[in-house]
């Protein structure tokens, strides 16, 4: 990998707190100008990694390079890695203006120049006329914009964000994340974003690193993470998936013939290394399965009876008993007659089935 294209490089980094290993042997390359999301459940180490980048913690092992320079041991105030805190950490005793200009004041920028920069920032974030307010006199959304303005004003090329959207209501969150993505691309910033919200991660990122128990399970584009997860943890954490265990019964041309219980499914072979007799787990997203009342023709068809359904606006989710297998199926274009009931027929495109080698039991939890 060529270092000049990388903004941040982390190699074999570990960090423990007492007996708890927060990060173990993590390596991650972050290309310049990319939007990288660290995604995972709480306690997985994603925030720890971000704080290691910001210099709030020192790693127990491993190296970190920022813009090609080794940053181990460099104190937080010399790293130039502005961070937007989850609860914003605005200085409660300073006005909006003082908060935003704090970094410039530390640089001893001339007053006039600082004023122009702050005004430009306040304009960019729609905070004109609020410069004399204290943070407590602002709404949550306004506070958040002040936090972004404060972090961006120095014009640094890196922006770290620790779940900055988690205190906004659902609709705001979607709006802000679109603005944020647009801003990041316009300014050409390398953004590192921590979240536990998979929708957010998929929608906003160039690349996602999925964390679990202090390790990175997978790094990839949102597309790969969603449709080609490395393992069951990733498949399960990002979105919903049907997991079906099976065995490769035969290889026919470009297809693997897989026996799952009593049914047989055909899967595009692509690059899978599986041989006849291998145990595999099939990962099928609920929206990849078609559902209809009339029996289907062709391959990968089977039937089942609807146990439960739940209307979710943009789709209906069905829980279907296809003994011995259970299925979750999303129907995103329901028929005018409303919910389906009773026996239904299911089918799945062989290209839309993802295969994983069967994992040992203890790894699945």
């Amino acid at each position: 990998m060529k270092t000049e294209e990388l903004m941040i490089q982390i190699s074999n980094m570990s960090k423990r707190f007492g007996d708890f290993e927060a990060i173990s042997q993590v390596s991650l390359d972050i290309p310049a100008g990319s939007f990288t999301t660290l995604l995972g459940p709480s306690g997985c180490g994603k925030t720890t990694l971000m704080r290691l980048i910001a210099g709030f913690y020192e790693p127990d092992a491993g190296d970190i390079y920022i813009q090609g320079k080794k940053a181990n041991g460099l104190p937080a105030f010399k790293r130039n890695t502005p961070l937007v805190f989850q609860e914003y950490a605005l200085f409660p005793h300073m006005t909006v203006y003082e908060n935003v200009s704090y970094g410039l004041k530390l640089m001893k920028l001339p007053r006039q120049e600082a004023r122009e920069k702050v005004d430009a920032m306040l304009n960019m974030f729609g905070l004109q006329g609020m410069q004399d307010r204290l943070p407590r006199a602002l709404s949550g959304g306004q506070q958040q914009r002040v936090a972004f303005a404060r972090a961006l004003i120095m014009g640094q090329k890196i922006l770290l964000m620790d779940e900055p959207l988690s205190n906004l209501d659902a609709k705001m969150r979607v709006e802000v994340r679109n603005e944020l993505r647009e801003l990041q691309q316009r300014l050409g910033i390398t953004a590192i974003f921590v979240t536990h919200d998979q929708d957010e991660a998929l929608a906003i990122s160039d690349r996602i690193a999925v964390f679990n128990k202090g390790r990175i399970e997978q790094v990839g584009t949102p597309w790969d993470i969603y449709f080609k997860p490395n393992n069951e943890f990733v498949a399960d954490f990002v979105g919903t998936a049907n997991f079906v265990e099976g065995e490769v019964a035969a290889i026919e041309g470009n297809d693997l013939i897989i026996k799952c219980g009593t049914s047989v499914l055909r899967v595009n072979r692509s690059e899978y290394p599986f041989q006849s007799g291998d145990r595999v787990t099939l990962v099928i997203r609920p929206e990849c399965i078609s559902i209809c009342e009339a029996p289907n023709e062709g391959e990968n068809v089977w039937s089942g009876s609807i146990q439960r359904s739940s209307f979710q606006g943009r789709m209906i989710r069905y829980w279907i008993d296809g003994s011995p297998l259970q299925w979750i199926v999303d129907d995103s274009s329901p028929s005018v007659s409303g919910y389906l009931e009773g026996i239904v027929h299911l089918s799945v495109d062989k290209q839309k089935i993802h295969l994983l080698p069967k994992e040992r039991q203890e790894q699945r939890n």
Partner: protein, 548 residues
């Protein structure tokens, strides 16, 4: 606007007709507090004429006492705040050993009689002092403002510490990290972020220390020498010459600045707190400081700690020494002497126990009404409950001596007088504890209880009372400790029959009987500690702790 406020008050009061129990309770509380809090204060202030007060400016001895008091207040509160800040910073922000010991040091003076630092200062540095006579071989006069300053600082910095500790602990370290993240150095973070955020706490700590120093009687009487202050001067007038008029003038002269500081603290400092919201975000550990700074702060704390430990250690040593300064042989005579004075110790415990229980029982409904009911007179009730906290002990004692010395209540020389005085003195302690406890109980719990069909009374008994138990006991325990170690309030009202431990110790100190004084002090501190520790163990079992 003002008339609208009165209208609201009236409307709220009219609603009380529907709740006779509540109305009766309010009337009872108003009667008790007016008679035992307001009346003694009025009695003292109104005892002297305007001309008498003018003597404060014309009579040079008084004028100097007033100046001395103010001077001591200013320098001691500054030194208290500095030491308290260093302690609070070290304990909340640094990763150093012995933090438990430092915390212990900040509790010690709260369970001790007020003049014990002065007493051991004499034992260490006095004419027969262990250090002056035997280590340094010098002989200098320790009585006066230098010694008093040191003693007041050591005695009262824990009060400032308690305020600062609370503020610093609730200030999220994330704010400091945010500043580091933007490029601020250690010094800039301290100057621009931590110090401004602590400013309300610092001001609060200074004011608390100032009030305590201003009103303190024990240390100046023991170590002040010719450096007389207003409380000691009032005591001289009263005990030496039975001059009530002068005593009342001098006491009032302490009351006014004390009230001013008190109001300032509540109104100004109270509104300027930046207690930061800490939500889901986990606070980071303190950003490591350069080792030189860290260990300097640690060293300073250690120095104060060693000094305080020496203060107490020398008392223990003194308690088992035959004649301090001459005959260092081991003896149990001093303890025998204390045992002979058993009645005074029992009085100490008895009065403290009854008074603190009574204060708690009065404070609980008072806090409940102020916090949970809208009765039109909430602010008045709140004011009456905290008022004794603003009144210097000497003043309160004098007030009780004057107010209950004739019709309708003649209590002079009785145990009841001692108990009532201590009860009033501790009302604010119990009240604040209950109020804080109530503030932490969500109103939704009571609504849930009403919703399930419980009555007002039932809800109070079954929901609020059990939840308030920790705060309630905490308030009573602290009141007990304050009462056992109290001197200023009772110095004007005790009689031969109702004398208590602290009064005896003062007498022993004034007679130079260091050994017996030390032994007496050790016994009192031990009692206070046993009570504190057993209460803490008891509350810990229920998952609570005592807030000192």
């Amino acid at each position: 606007m003002f008339s609208a406020a009165i209208k609201d008050t009236w409307a709220e009061m009219k609603k009380l007709k529907n709740d006779p129990i509540l109305a009766a309770a309010i009337i009872m509380i108003l009667l008790i507090t007016s008679y035992f809090v307001v009346w003694p204060i009025i009695k003292v202030i109104s005892f002297s004429q305007f001309e008498d007060y003018l003597k404060l400016f014309t009579y040079s001895r008084w004028y100097h006492a007033a100046l001395n008091s103010l001077f001591m207040m200013v320098i001691s509160s500054i030194s208290c705040a500095v030491i308290a800040f260093i302690f609070a910073y070290t304990i909340t922000r640094l990763k150093v050993p012995f933090k438990g010991l430092f915390r212990f040091i900040t509790i010690l003076p709260i369970v001790s009689p007020p003049f014990i630092v002065a007493l051991s200062y004499i034992l260490l540095f006095g004419r027969q002092g262990m250090i002056t006579k035997y280590v340094l071989h010098v002989n200098f006069d320790i009585y006066g403002w230098h010694g008093l300053w040191l003693v007041q600082t050591v005695t009262f910095f824990p009060y400032a510490y308690a305020v600062l500790y609370g503020v610093m602990k609730s200030t999220s370290t994330n704010l400091e990290y945010a500043a580091y993240n933007l490029g601020a150095t250690h010094w800039q973070v301290f100057k621009n972020v931590l110090l401004p955020l602590c400013r309300p706490g610092l001001a609060g700590g200074v004011l608390i220390a100032a009030m305590s120093v201003l009103a303190d009687f024990g240390n100046p009487i023991v170590i002040g020498g010719n450096f007389n202050t207003l409380p000691t001067e009032a005591y001289m007038q009263m005990s030496g010459m039975f001059d009530l008029k002068s005593a009342s003038v001098l006491s009032t002269a302490i009351l006014l600045p004390a009230l001013g500081l008190f109001v300032w603290n509540r109104v100004w400092v109270g509104k300027r707190s930046y207690v930061t919201v800490t939500g889901k975000e986990t606070s980071l550990e303190h950003f490591p400081l350069p080792p030189a700074v860290k260990w300097t702060l640690f060293g300073l704390c250690m120095f104060v700690t060693v000094f305080v430990l020496a203060v107490y250690g020398v008392l223990v040593y003194g308690a088992f020494t035959k004649t301090w300064g001459y005959d260092w042989s081991f003896t149990l005579d001093n303890l025998t002497y204390v045992a002979a004075k058993g009645r005074e110790i029992i009085n100490s415990i008895k009065f403290a126990l009854i008074a603190s229980l009574a204060a708690g029982v009065l404070a609980l409904p008072l806090a409940f009404i102020v916090q949970r009911k809208r009765v039109g007179v909430n602010r008045l009730l709140d004011f009456l409950a905290i008022l004794p906290g603003a009144v210097p002990g000497v003043f309160l004692g004098l007030g009780f001596a004057m107010a209950f010395n004739g019709q309708p209540l003649h209590l002079a020389g009785t145990s009841l007088l001692m108990i009532l005085a201590l009860m009033v003195w501790n009302l604010p302690t119990c009240y604040s504890a209950c109020l804080a406890g109530l503030q932490q109980i969500s109103g939704a719990l009571e609504e849930a209880s009403f919703n399930l069909g419980a009555s007002n009374m039932m809800t109070f008994r079954k929901v609020l009372l059990p939840l308030l138990r920790g705060a309630f006991i905490s308030g009573i325990v602290v009141s007990f400790l304050r009462s056992v170690t109290c001197l200023s309030v009772i110095i004007f009202i005790y009689s031969a029959k109702t004398s208590v431990g602290t009064v005896s110790i003062l007498g022993l100190v004034q007679n130079g009987e260091w050994g017996s004084a030390s032994a007496f002090t050790i016994v009192l501190i031990s009692i206070a500690f046993i009570v504190l520790v057993s209460a803490q163990l008891f509350l810990k079992k229920q998952g609570r702790s005592i807030e000192l």
